[in-house]
């Protein structure tokens, strides 16, 4: 129940943004709707406890900031390649392990989302939820950096989930 109550807060904020009325009334409406949706859908295999909540929020904040940095860097990288007259590409597909022992769909989905946003990488296929096939613009550089980046991302995702 506490998990639902906490997760309804961002949904209420989203409701306020979408309806573009920032007021206590719209927060209450959004909170009620969010709580109801979470209760019915019951997607949370995430367990939130009082003790871990600050660390989870901090991890979420770090994840968001790194994601924004990645989006910026990746579009700059691709734009540079496109505008270069020689079109410096070295495309190819590499296999990257999710490195997730639990094989959780949440981790797999967010890893794929994160990788698709990383500079020059794009997830093209999945093998269950333990291997991702990643298309890279610069295969050699990516095959060196991808496993470490994935390990970091997974650690952060697990912290967000409160493990």
């Amino acid at each position: 129940m506490f998990t639902h109550a906490v997760l309804a807060v961002p949904m209420a904020v989203l409701w306020m943004l979408v309806s573009s009325t920032i007021s206590a009334g719209s927060f209450v409406v959004g909170y009620a709707l969010g709580f109801a949706i979470l209760y019915v859908v019951n997607v949370c295999n995430v367990e939130i406890s009082y003790r871990k909540l600050p660390s989870q929020v901090a991890a979420l904040f770090i994840y968001t900031v790194t994601l924004m940095r990645d989006i910026w860097l990746s579009s700059m990288d691709v734009a540079k390649r496109v505008l270069d007259p020689n079109l410096p590409l070295n495309p190819g597909v590499i296999a990257v392990a999710t490195q997730d022992a639990t094989e959780c769909d949440f981790n797999a989905a967010f890893s794929a989302h994160g990788i698709t946003i990383t500079p020059g990488e794009l997830v093209v296929d999945f093998d269950g939820s333990h291997t991702m096939y990643v298309h890279c613009l610069d295969t050699e550089a990516s095959s060196k950096s991808a496993p470490a980046a994935q390990a970091k991302r997974l650690k952060l995702l697990n912290r967000i989930k409160g493990l």
Binding site: L14, M16, L17, V18, S20, I22, L67, I71, W72, S74, S75, V78, A79, R81, V82, L83, L87, L89, N90, P91, G92, V93, I94, A95, A112, H113, T116, I117, G120, L122, V123, V124, D125, F126, D127, Y133, H135, L137, T139, S143
Partner: protein
């Protein structure tokens, strides 16, 4: 404020143009998806920022739009890429497939020959 908004709009538009240029210049479908998926995300964010600066009344909706766009654009890119990969759309010559895997689901299609050619 108006000048800042116009700068943001120009920034967004130029990134969208770079995205289109990438679609034309890149050698195969997968590389093209890089151009459309990533550059367009920043281009869209630039356009939204410009809209928010020029019309402050819609700021909150713009923030919500940006969140949804950032969450869903990579998903659509991935969906197109996965569909192409499973159909066996060929990569450009010289592309390395170190994964050397077969796609996890293969879609057998009579049209496949026409793509390989």
């Amino acid at each position: 404020m108006e000048i800042l908004g116009l700068i943001a709009l120009w920034f967004g538009v130029s990134f969208c143009i770079i995205g289109v240029l990438g679609m034309v210049r890149m050698p195969d479908l997968y590389c093209r998806l890089h151009a459309s998926g990533k550059v367009a995300t920043v281009g869209l964010c630039g356009l939204l920022l410009g809209a928010a600066l020029l019309m402050p009344s819609i700021t909150f909706k713009v923030i919500a739009l940006a969140i949804f766009a950032v969450l869903t654009l990579p998903v659509s890119t991935h969906a197109i890429a996965a569909a192409a990969y499973r159909h066996g759309v060929p990569m450009t010559q010289g592309a390395i497939n170190t994964a050397a895997n077969e796609p996890s689901i293969q879609i057998i299609s009579s049209e496949e020959e026409s793509w390989v050619a």
